[in-house]
Amino acid sequence: MKINKQPLSTIQNLPFPIVLVDKHMHIKDCSDSFYEFFGMERPKDGYLELETVIGELQQSLLKIKKNKRFQKTQVNEFITHITRKNELKWYKMVLNPSPESAHYYIYFDDVTKKKIALDLSLQAEKTARIGSWEVDLVNNKIFWSEMTKEIHEVPANFVPDLETGINFYKEGEHRDKIIEVVSEAIENGSPYDVELIIVTAKGNEKWVRAIGKAEMINGKAVRLFGVFKDIDKSKRSNDKIKVLTNRMRVAVESSNIGIWDYDIVNNILVWDDNMYDLYQIDRNEFSGEVAAWEQTIHPEDKEKSLKEVELAIEGKKEFNTEFRIITADGTIRHIHGRGKVFRDENGTALRMIGANTDVSRIKKADNRLRQLLSTTEKQNKSLLNFAHIVSHNLRSNSSNLSMLTGMLLDNIAPAKQQRFLEMIRISSERLDETVVQLNEVIKIQTDHNQKSQWVSIKTTLDNVLESINAHIDEIQPSIEIAVPKDLKVYGMSAYISSIFLNLLTNSLKYRDPKKKLVIKIKAKGEIDQTVISFQDNGKGINLEKHGSNLFGMYKTFHGNKDAKGVGLFISKNQMDAMNAQIVTNSKEGHGATFTLTFPNPKNNKQ
């Protein structure tokens, strides 16, 4: 290694890091700051090698070192450097050739702070997706920052001009708009701030916010500059909200939900279109007062509904209720209403907003379900009755038989054996009778498909009376019949005969022995139903005591030996099967009236 000796240096005292090297990159001279800059001390004499001070040489310097020809142009480079204290530093290195002496001056500048500041701003740009741009109108030169290029999706080396820049805007309103604002900025220096769509180099559409401003010199724009922000994401999510809101509006419009808004202070009620549809009221005929709403409510629900509103305003109860309305064409609709009361800071109710829903269909389905449930309950009751009869009538007779046969086998009381046999006959006859009745009950339960038809009341009644002729002759009751000759009911002929027979024999059985029996039979045709009644002056029934059991199986009420209780149960089941009703009106000791009500089928005129 060759050590140069130069006693007096001209650049030694310069207050910035500078070094003079020959074309082999050997140090010929340097400032004291040069050593300091790289954290070293100046050696006592001579110079260190350049690599020793600044570390591994840059490619550019190595190239110069290798080249035989002298480098005549300036080299300007940023260098990353790790100091001896392990700090990361950036510096700018500028190499200036000095052709006359065939030396190079190399100057260093610490740009670490600047670099960090720049990085931060770049990062900020990147995070916010803000790019900057500048147009030099004098030289017609354009500068786009990295982010601006990224937003446009062009490569880093893309060179734009004013025209290509503008052509990125989507053809039509967006491009027209940018041309308009840019022209104006150039002419008048007026700034702009617009949100437009660009089509990137890759063909993607993007929402951007373009902000621009002109620099005017002597009334003439010389420079145009501004920022460019990618707002695609936020814009699109905004648009999404708009779409959602619209969708909700459409949903509300197409549903049967009506929205109302009640200004409590001024008593003004505002309805949306659905409300008018719901209430079938012409918008022009609605006064906008609560009274107008009141008039539509079903009279039976009016008081309750108004009370609910009152309670809501008083804050005692949330408004959540159901009521019926009568629309202009007379239809009854079931409305479910909900509402919320808005108050000022003192708690005074100012406004009430709510929604009305037409729940008529739900209500109908609900009623149908209830009907189904009640039918099921009825059938369940029948089953219980059935279980009851099996338990009682079958078992009591079968246990009689078992005891009697047991006594015969064990030869208990031999003298009475003849009597035992007689009782066995009675018990088995009873069993047989019970089985026949049970069969009849089951037949009704399973016979629902039997055809209904129009049945003449008078003819049926005559036939039944004929069949119990002997019994009537014996008792000699007075029977008054007021039945129109042609009156018919819609039902099953066999059931109707059976019911008539049962009611008549009941009257004969439970007559008051102290009085002459009087039976009155009336029938009356109404618009949608036919009513037949059987009235007698017999013993009557204590309905308070027996009402709920009246039509149950094997209930008897008179302590009468003939009473088996199954008759009314069968009649009731037969009436049920025909969708008809049987009701009793009676008082103990004052006779009984049974009323049969048959509905007239709507589409089946006789």
Binding site: A387, H388, S391, H392, R395, S396, S399, N400, S402, M403, L404, G406, M407, I412, A413, K416, R419, F420, M423, I426, S427, Y554, T556, F557, H558, G559, N560, A563
Partner: protein
Amino acid sequence: MTKPKVFVVDDDFVFREVAEVLIKSSGLTDEISHFENGLQVYQELVHLAETPSKLPELVLLDINMPVMNGWELLEELKDGPAAIKMGVQIHILTSSIAPEDLNLSKQYDFIKGYITKPLTNADLEKLSKELNNG
């Protein structure tokens, strides 16, 4: 030892007759009275309660009867003379095998037993033992 008095309450005359034969042949007693329903036996019991020594030792009570059934009778007795509840052993004797009826009978603490028809000699032996202990 004097023979106990037994009341059989049932609307079915066949059962009453058969029960009487069975009770007599079992040697429990010969003193058997018949009642067709709750009301008849109630009137008799209330009447006898004035001289409690005349009350029966045992009542066999059916449930399903016209006019006044077994349950209705028990309701009347609940508020009736204490002598009846104290001095008379009441056993339900029914053809019902429904658990509801058995459960209902447990609501009356003066009910001593629950027998399901048919009435057997085994039932009568048990009744006889309970009468002697009581």
